[in-house]
Symmetry: C2
Subunit: 209 residues, 2 copies
C-alpha cells in the first residue's frame, strides 16, 4: 500500500498513459511516483600511501569495514558529496580528488561514484556513523570484514593500479552482492558487438581510440 | 503541502534525528521522504561520422534538438539505460558504447552520464517523444536550436576530441542552464589543492598519474 505525496490518496500500481512500465499512480490527482536509481558517492582517502577505512556504526553491515560513502544529496556535485561523506564518517578533509570508478549495482538500484583522494594533514577520526576509523596499509586490509562487494572491488583495483602506476577510470556493472567485477582494462576489451540492450560494459581507459 | 507515501498523513518539514538537513518527515509514522539527484543517461549515436539528433516532441524545450537521453530506470545499467532511451526517442540500436561524460547539473539536481556509440545498420526513426530525427554532420548541427547546455557542451567536446583523435572521459559540474563547462583535459589541470568542500572537478583523462 502506498500513498500520493501530492494529495494523500491511496495510489494504484498501473502503467501510466504513454509509459511502458508499472508505476504507483494516484487515481485522484494522476501524479506518478517514479522510482529511480540512487547515487552513492564515496572516496579512497589516502595518507602517505595508507588507506582510510571506517567501521560501520549503522546498518546495513554494522561492525564491518568500508570506505567512506553515502547517498548523494541535492545541491552538491559528485565530488562535493564524496568529500561530505568522508567528513561525516571519518572526519577527514580531502584534496586532489580524482574520479576513479562508476559502478551500477543493479541488484539494489544504486550507482556508486568513487574518487581517489589525499587526506589533508593526515587528520581523521570516527564520525557519528562509524565505530572506529583506521589508516591501513595493503597488508592490513581486513578483506573478510569488508562491508560490501563494491568496496572490496574498488580496493582491489586501486591496489593493482597503484602497483603498476596507472589509474584509469572504470565504469562497470555489479550484478549481485557477491560480484565485484575484478576486470581491468587490459583484459576486458574482448566485448564484441552487442545486441540491444548491451548487457555490460568493459572498463574504460582514456587511451587513444 | 506534501503527504507520506507510507501512511498518507501530511508531512512536516524538519531535520530528522541524526540528520543535518531538512526533510519531509511524517509525524504519524516517522517515515522520511529523501530527495536525491536523479540520473539522466544518454548517447551520442554515430553513423558514418554523422551524429543522430532528435527534435523534442515533449516539454521541456519542445521543438528543440537534442541527443537521445532520459531518466535512468531501476533494474538497468547506465549503458542499458542510454541504449533504451536511444531506442525510445530515435528508434536506433547502439553498439560499441563507450562512457564519455559524467556531468552534475546542480541547478536541477541531475547527473548526466553520456556514452559515445555507433548505430546498428544506420537505422533510425522518430520515437513517440520526438517530432523528427536526423543524422547531421558537424556543419549541420543546429547550435541555437539545441535544447540544453549539457547537450551543446557534449557535442562541442565530442567534435573537438574527434578532430584530435582522442576521447578521454570527462567528469564536470554544470552549475547553470547557460554554462556548459567547455574545458578539456589539456587546459583544465590547473586546479590547485582545494579546500573542503571542493568546488568543481577538472576533466579526467586516463593518463599515467
Amino acid at each position: 500500500m502506498s500513498f500520493c505525496t501530492r494529495c494523500g490518496a491511496e495510489t494504484i500500481l498501473k502503467i501510466p498513459g504513454g509509459d511502458d512500465r508499472q508505476r504507483q499512480v494516484c487515481p485522484v490527482c494522476n501524479a506518478v511516483a517514479y522510482q529511480n536509481p540512487k547515487i552513492v558517492v564515496g572516496a579512497i582517502p589516502v595518507w602517505e600511501g595508507r588507506i582510510l577505512l571506517c567501521r560501520r556504526a549503522i546498518e546495513p553491515r554494522r561492525g564491518f569495514w568500508t570506505l567512506p560513502a553515502g547517498f548523494m544529496e541535492n545541491d552538491e556535485t559528485l565530488a562535493q558529496g564524496a568529500a561530505r561523506e568522508t567528513w561525516e564518517e571519518a572526519r577527514a578533509r580531502l584534496i586532489d580528488m580524482e574520479p576513479y570508478g562508476v559502478y551500477t549495482l543493479t541488484f539494489v538500484n544504486q550507482v556508486y561514484v568513487m574518487f581517489r583522494a589525499q587526506i589533508v594533514d593526515g587528520q581523521f577520526a570516527p564520525g557519528p556513523e562509524s565505530l572506529e576509523t583506521a589508516l591501513v596499509d595493503e597488508k592490513q586490509i581486513p578483506w573478510p570484514q569488508l562491508a560490501f562487494a563494491v568496496i572490496a572491488g574498488t580496493l582491489e583495483r586501486y591496489l593493482a593500479d597503484r602497483r603498476r602506476g596507472r589509474f584509469p577510470m572504470y565504469m562497470d556493472e555489479i550484478s549481485s552482492p557477491q560480484g565485484h567485477a575484478p576486470r581491468y582494462p587490459d583484459t576486458a576489451s574482448a566485448s564484441g558487438p552487442a545486441a540491444f540492450p548491451p548487457i555490460s560494459l568493459k572498463a574504460v581507459s582514456g587511451k587513444k581510440q
